[in-house]
C-alpha cells in the first residue's frame, strides 16, 4: 500500500511540474492563439477582441490556475481553435496511438527476444555478428526514412498495404491491422535493436552464472536452459527499456503518425503547438505524463514478478 501511495504522490508531482513547464513555454512564444483563431486577414482590433474572448488577457499564472482548477473538476477545457472539448479530441485520437504502440512493441518483442537469446547463446557466432551489424545499421537510419522505403515497396509497388490513412477498428479488424502494419513496422525496425542489445548483454552475464552450469549439469537441452533458466533473471534491463519505449511512443511517434496520416495523439499535440492552442497542448501533455507514470508503476511491479527477492523487500528497486 505504501508503494501505491508513494507512486500516487510521484504522479501528482510529475504532472504539476510538466504542465507548469509546458504552460510557461507556450507563454514565452511571441504569437498567440488569437492569431490562429482569427485567420490571416484579421485586423488588430479583431485579434484583441478574440484575446479578450478566450481569456488570454489574464496573466499566465491566473490562466494556469484556472486550467488546473478545471482539471480537478474533470474538465480539460475546450480547444481555443476549434471549440471542441479537449477530452473528446484526445479520446478520438487515442485508439490510433494505442494500437500503433501495441503493435509496434509486439513486433519489437517478437524480433528482439529470439534474436537476443540466440545471439547470447552463441556470442560472436556468424548469426550474432550479422544481427548486431544489421541492428546498428537500422538504428542509424531514422524511422521515417525506413518508413518511406517500406511504403515504396510494400504499398506502392506490391500494393499489400495502404500507403497512408487509418482504418478504425469499426471498419473491420483486417483493414485496421493493414493500415497500422507499415507504421508499426517502421517503428519496430528501430526499437527492436535497442531491446535486443540490452537483453543480449544481460543474458551473456546470466549465462556465466553457476546456476546455468548446474542446469547444464542436469543434462537439460539448450532451449530449456535459455527459456526456463536464463531468460527470466535477464529481463530487468529489457523491461526498463520496454517501458521507456512505450512511454516514448505515446506522444513521440509523431513523425510516423504524420507520415502515414494516422490520427494519433502525437499529431494532435503537434497541431496544438503550431496553433498556440494551450488547452489542447496541456491536455496532451497531461495524458503523456500520466501514461509515463503509470508505465513506470507497471515496470516497478514487473520487477517484483520477475524476481522474488525484490518482492520481499517491498519493491526495493522501485
Amino acid at each position: 500500500m505504501r508503494f501505491v501511495g508513494g507512486k500516487f504522490l510521484h504522479l501528482i508531482v510529475v504532472i504539476l511540474a510538466v504542465t507548469a513547464l509546458t504552460f510557461a513555454m507556450l507563454d514565452l512564444l511571441p504569437a498567440s492563439a488569437a492569431y490562429a483563431v482569427a485567420g490571416a486577414n484579421a485586423s488588430a482590433h479583431d485579434i484583441a477582441a478574440i484575446q479578450e474572448d478566450l481569456g488570454l488577457g489574464d496573466p499566465a499564472l491566473v490562466r494556469y490556475g484556472k486550467w488546473l482548477a478545471g482539471v480537478l473538476r474533470g474538465d480539460l477545457g475546450v480547444s481555443l481553435v476549434s471549440g471542441q472539448p479537449v477530452a473528446q479530441a484526445i479520446v478520438s485520437h487515442l485508439p490510433a496511438t494505442v494500437e500503433l504502440v501495441v503493435l509496434a512493441q509486439l513486433f519489437t518483442l517478437l524480433v528482439a527476444v529470439p534474436v537476443g537469446l540466440l545471439s547470447a547463446w552463441r556470442v560472436d557466432s556468424r548469426f550474432d555478428r550479422f544481427c548486431s551489424t544489421l541492428g546498428f545499421g537500422l538504428t542509424s537510419i531514422p524511422s521515417f526514412a525506413l518508413a518511406m522505403v517500406l511504403v515504396y515497396f510494400l504499398a506502392l509497388k506490391l500494393k499489400w498495404f495502404p500507403a497512408v490513412g487509418y482504418a478504425p477498428l469499426s471498419a473491420g479488424v483486417w483493414p485496421n491491422l493493414k493500415s497500422l502494419f507499415l507504421p508499426a513496422v517502421s517503428l519496430a525496425l528501430v526499437e527492436w535493436v535497442i531491446l535486443m542489445r540490452v537483453l543480449r548483454s544481460e543474458l551473456i552475464a546470466t549465462l556465466q552464472e553457476d546456476f546455468i552450469l548446474l542446469a547444464r549439469a542436469k543434462g537439460l537441452p539448450a532451449w530449456k536452459i535459455l527459456l526456463q533458466h536464463a531468460l527470466r533473471p535477464s529481463l530487468f534491463g529489457a523491461l526498463t527499456v520496454f517501458g521507456l519505449q512505450v512511454g516514448n511512443l505515446i506522444g513521440g511517434a509523431v513523425i510516423v503518425e504524420q507520415l502515414f496520416a494516422l490520427p494519433g495523439v502525437g499529431r494532435l499535440l503537434l497541431a496544438g503547438i503550431f496553433a498556440q492552442d494551450f488547452a489542447m497542448v496541456q491536455g496532451c501533455v497531461l495524458l503523456i505524463a500520466v501514461a509515463y507514470v503509470a508505465i513506470n508503476f507497471l515496470v516497478d511491479a514487473g520487477y517484483g514478478l520477475l524476481d522474488p527477492r525484490v518482492r520481499r523487500g517491498g519493491f526495493a528497486r522501485g
Partner: protein, 332 residues
C-alpha cells in the same frame, strides 16, 4: 584376481584452452580409474585443474576448449568422446550428478526449489509433476531438510547456505546417479556445517553405492572420507595413493606443503598459518622440468631440466612424480 570393470576411466586426458596465440594447458595428461562405490579425492591448490577436470568429465568445458588425442573418458564402458552431444547430455544429471562449490549461486534465484529438484526427474525419467514432487519430498528428507513440505515451495534466498547445499545435493541425487562429482562442496560454507555436509555425502554415497569424486583444496577434508586421493598441481596428477597410505607416506614436497597448510587446533594461538611460497605457474608457459621446481626447497638442476613422470612407489599403488621424493617415514 581381475579387478571388476571400473565405472570411470580417465586416460591421458588433456584440456587445452586457446587464449590469444597461447595455449593454456588446464589439464595435462591426467589418468585415473574409479571403481563403483569408491571415493576418489582430488586435492590441489586453486588453479591446479581440479574443477576443469570435473567439468571435462561432465562434458561442460568452455566452448573453445580442446581435448587433444589420445585423451579419453570412459564411463561404464562407453567412450564419452564418441557420444553425440545429446547422448552426452542424457548422462548428465541422470547417471552423473554434480554438486558445485557455491550453493548461493548454484540455484536459480527466481525458481522455487521444488521445481529445480523436480527438473532432472521430469526431463530424464519422464515423471509427472506430482510424481516428481512426491520424490522431491523424499530427496529433501534424505538430505536432512526438515519440514520438506513447506521448504519445497521456498525460493533459494529463503534458505541458509547449508540448506541450499543440501538442496543442490538433492538435485544431484534425483535420478540416482552412479557417479557423484562434488566440486569443493563445502568451501563456501560455514565451518560448522562443513562436516555435516561431508558426512551427509559420505552416508549417501554408501547407502546408494555411488562412486564419488570429492574435490577439495584442503587435505584435511578428504582424510578418512576418500578411498583414494590424487594430488593435482598445474593440471597434472603429481601424487596418487590410497588415502591412508598417502597420509602415512607422503612422497611429494608439494603434498606435504598442502598438509602443513591445514591449520591445527593444537597450534599456539598466535601461530602464523603456513602457506606455500611462490605462485602457481603460468599454465600457458610451463617450464621444461618439474612445474613445482621454482617453489620447491629441495629443487636441484635436474628438476628444472627434466620433468619427472609418475612412477610407482612399489608400495600399495602409491605413485608420485618427483626426482628427489621425501624419504619414507621422514616426517620433516
Amino acid at each position: 584376481m581381475r579387478e571388476p570393470l571400473p565405472l570411470l576411466v580417465v586416460d591421458k586426458l588433456s584440456v587445452h584452452l586457446p587464449c590469444g596465440d597461447r595455449i593454456v594447458r588446464a589439464i595435462d595428461e591426467v589418468s585415473f580409474t574409479l571403481q563403483r562405490g569408491q571415493t576418489l579425492a582430488l586435492v590441489g591448490e586453486s588453479g591446479s585443474g581440479k574443477s576443469m577436470l570435473c567439468r571435462a568429465i561432465m562434458g561442460l568445458v568452455p566452448g573453445r576448449a580442446l581435448l587433444p588425442a589420445p585423451g579419453r573418458i570412459v564411463f561404464a564402458g562407453q567412450d564419452l568422446g564418441a557420444l553425440k552431444a545429446s547422448e552426452r547430455a542424457g548422462l548428465c544429471g541422470r547417471r552423473i550428478g554434480m554438486v558445485l562449490q557455491d550453493p548461493l549461486s548454484a540455484l536459480n534465484p527466481v525458481m522455487k526449489i521444488g521445481r529445480q529438484i523436480a527438473e532432472p526427474m521430469r526431463h530424464h525419467l519422464g515423471m509427472s509433476r506430482d510424481q516428481a514432487r512426491e520424490r522431491s519430498f523424499e530427496l529433501l528428507r534424505a538430505v536432512g531438510i526438515a519440514q520438506a513440505e513447506t521448504r519445497i515451495d521456498c525460493y533459494p534466498h529463503q534458505l541458509s547456505g547449508g540448506m541450499r547445499q543440501r538442496v543442490v545435493i538433492a538435485i544431484a541425487l534425483a535420478c540416482e546417479p552412479q557417479l557423484l562429482i562434488a566440486d569443493e562442496p563445502t568451501t563456501a560454507l560455514d565451518v560448522t556445517v562443513q562436516a555435516d555436509i561431508l558426512d551427509l555425502l559420505a552416508r549417501l554415497q554408501q547407502e546408494r553405492n555411488m562412486a564419488m569424486i570429492l574435490v577439495s583444496h584442503n587435505l584435511g577434508v578428504v582424510a578418512g572420507r576418500a578411498h583414494e586421493t590424487a594430488v593435482m598441481y598445474a593440471g597434472r596428477i603429481v601424487e596418487q595413493a590410497p588415502t591412508d597410505e598417502l597420509f602415512a607416506r607422503m612422497r611429494m614436497r608439494y603434498t606435504r606443503a598442502l598438509f602443513d597448510a591445514i591449520p591445527r587446533l593444537d597450534d599456539p594461538a598466535q601461530a602464523m598459518l603456513t602457506a606455500i611460497g611462490g605462485q602457481s605457474p603460468d599454465l600457458a608457459a610451463l617450464p621444461d622440468g618439474c612445474s613445482f621446481a621454482p617453489r620447491c626447497a629441495r629443487a636441484e638442476a635436474r628438476c628444472s631440466d627434466q620433468a619427472p613422470t609418475l612412477v610407482s612407489d612399489g608400495h600399495a599403488r602409491h605413485r608420485y612424480a618427483c626426482w628427489f621424493p621425501c624419504a619414507v617415514g621422514a616426517n620433516t
